[in-house]
Amino acid sequence: MATSRQAETSSRWRAPILVAVLVALFVLEGTTRNALFTGSWNTSLAILNMGLISAVMALGLNMQWGYAGLFNSGVVGFVALGGLAPVLISVAPVDGAFGAGGMRMIAALIVGFGTLALSAMTWQRSPRKWRVPAIIAVLIVGFAAYRWLFDPAVDAIEANQAAQFGNLGGLGLPVLLSWPVGALFAAAAAWGVGKVALGLRSDYLAIATLGIGEIIVAVLKNEEWLARGVKNVTSIPRPVPYEIALQQDPAFIERAQSWGIPVAEASGIWVKLCYAGLFGVVLLLLILLAELSLKSPWGRMMRSIRDNETAAEAMGKNVTGRHLQIFVIGCAVMGLAGAMMITHDGLMAPTQYNPLRYTFVIWVMVIVGGSGNNWGAALGGILIWFLWVKAESWGPQLIGLLTSPLPAGALKAHLLDSSPHMRFIAMGLILLLVLRFSPRGLVPEK
């Protein structure tokens, strides 16, 4: 990632051009109806909203990969963990759930994490000879105590109003509060993984994060007391008005009529615009903070570590410590994006967390946008998300066009059936092509 004068001069207009292209794409999606676009502002804005959330995820990953060269392949886990926050913070409390097993559950979690901390301390403090037996004793006693506390608590919570809830429920606080909490959840998990896997060779972190991603998603799917697992939590409150409420509001009906848009459509557009505003503010704020920190001495230190770890270490920089720091910050941003996404969906459905979609597509976003450049990652996020959504409808059309000379038959039907899967091949091709021919991305690092 060496910079040259030439690259710098050619890159000045890249970001504005990419913005213009994106604006054009979304306007086309909103206004023209043809084979490629739907011509619905509702669709266009829905894509934009998820695009903004994806941009936040890409920003988080860019901090890790672009600033520090850390390979995080567990993005899905940190996004999912952030998504837990709206459920625990903002959903209305479940009657009797906390009384049934809440305190016992908290005690169990304290014992669980306490055991881990204690075994780490045992390892460091106890004399060499006693280390292994001591740590095994701590783990066995701790695990037994944890299960003794944990199992009855789970049974009690899940038995409470099992059909409708069966989970711990939330605190009933404003949903916006859950966004920073989601970031905190993800940061805590990242600290744990980073503490273990950083400082070893680079692909070990990739494999360890792959594991933690799978485990977090498995926890969300199976721990019904926490967020109802695969039974999903609906009714997550919104920070913006509901369409139904708007449609019954005389003032809004009047305004919609003055714009000449049907009320139902106008309410959808208005709600999505509110979300877009909210997400846009978060995204811009994050980019601002990220840019400021990159320009600070801290940012220069991060880049120098990335470009030459040995030299940075020789200058007295604590490379592993800084890596841990940036890893935690990046994961916090992903957690924030996860909380935003669940707030936007109004639904916590752990089965949706597919690693291809939530880890590796985010990677494509960062690489295509321009690793190391915040604007690049964010714009790449929105662009790739747009392509990912549209590829679902463009794929079949492309296949239809390509297979039109073929006679109708089993092969043609099979190709047409499987055409939605084209998006995976498209993503792989985009990633490989950018990596090969333009490794610095669409908006290269300055």
Binding site: G69, F71, S73, F143, V196, A197, L200, R201, S202, D203, Y204, A206, I207, A208, L210, G211, I212, E214, I215, A218, V219, K221, N222, P355, L356, F360, W363, V364, I367, L415, S418, H421, M422, R423, F424, I425, A426, M427, G428, L429, L431, L432, L435, R436, P439
Partner: protein
């Protein structure tokens, strides 16, 4: 008698499934470790390439079945295996030519190669989906059991039954044959020695006139064979579902790292360590312990529920990373 019952329960629910699963993981980890040793990167496309090779084998199996070919008690898929391996080998050689060779020549950072393998993973995933879809496919035919529960009970008069599925026996037998052939190749033939030399010290190998491109091609072909065989055995034993092949990436990596990346013998040991820990930790031991004469009360004696089996490979991975980052058999460090 009770001790025998305990032993049979243990064999039936822990030892046999874990041995078959361990053999599958070992073959997968051997592929990862070979690619790591020669090409020096962690191949994230491994699981999806396994799925791709298996998909070709399944299609070939269907073709053979429609021709009316049957092997009696043995699944036809074994006959289709060479076709699957050939298809998979051609595909990975093409990806190497189009994707990896460029970065190898440029001597890029290993992490860039990992990134490229993510791109290949997407393409393999898409190809598999287009080839065969995303649904679960069972393609094992032939006899289902070598020993079935009822026959075993009647034969021995024990309370507990023992089942040995044909696929499990085939898995272990095929894995042993493959490993034997691989080690023979690596230790006895000139090409195998060239591969080991290249893995040990690239510069020295180049100096002694070993053609690096040939070594790389050989590695990919062997890796494709291992991947397809591992994938087909896994699919025969459980069922073919493309997403499971992505998920098996984690235990395979864990196995390769536990054994020491770059060490073939380590990959085999790692595969069995991961498989046995996974099964032992997620199995409810209640029955076995009760046969041994202990009262367990209400507890199932299950340390972790089966859904968390990936956590087991992860924990093993973490333990190895913390205490012995080069693995049990001293693979490549850095």
């Amino acid at each position: 008698m009770d001790i025998l019952n305990a032993l049979v329960t243990f064999l039936n629910f822990v030892f046999i499934p874990a041995a078959a699963y361990g053999a599958q993981l070992a073959l997968g980890a051997l592929g990862v470790t070979l690619i790591y040793g020669i090409l020096r990167f962690s191949n994230f496309a491994h699981g999806d390439t396994m799925a791709f090779g298996t998909a070709i084998t399944i299609i070939a199996t269907w073709g053979l079945q429609s021709l009316g070919i049957s092997l009696g008690p043995i699944p036809v898929a074994l006959l289709a295996l060479p076709i699957g391996i050939a298809g998979c080998a051609l595909t990975v050689l093409a990806t190497d030519r189009v994707v990896y060779r460029f970065y190898r020549r440029k001597k890029s950072d290993p992490i860039i190669l990992v990134m490229a393998s993510v791109g290949v993973m997407f393409i393999m995933n898409g190809l598999t989906r287009i080839l065969i879809g995303v649904d679960e496919i069972r393609f094992a035919d032939g006899a289902r059991f070598v020993i079935d529960v009822r026959g075993f009970r009647e034969w021995t008069g024990l309370q507990e039954g023992l089942a040995l599925r044909t696929t499990q026996l085939i898995t272990v037998v095929v894995a042993v044959l493959v490993v034997w052939a691989l080690f023979r190749f690596l230790n006895k033939t000139k090409s195998g020695k060239a591969m080991r030399a290249y893995s040990d010290n690239e510069d020295l190998a180049l100096l002694s006139g070993i053609d690096p491109e040939r070594v790389v091609r050989l590695t990919w072909i062997i890796a494709a064979g291992l991947m397809t065989i591992a994938g087909v055995l896994y699919g025969l034993d459980k069922a073919f579902k493309p997403f499971n092949y992505f998920q098996i990436l984690l235990p395979i990596f864990a196995a390769a790292i536990v054994g020491g990346l770059g060490s073939p013998i380590g990959a085999i040991a790692g595969g069995f360590i991961v498989a046995f820990s996974e099964v032992a930790i997620t199995y409810p031991w209640k029955k076995v312990v009760e046969y041994l004469g202990f009262d367990t009360g209400n507890s199932l004696l299950q340390l972790m529920s089966t859904e968390y089996k990936f956590a087991v490979s992860f924990v093993i991975l973490i333990i190895v990373l913390l205490f012995r980052p080069t693995g049990l058999f001293r693979g490549k460090s850095v």
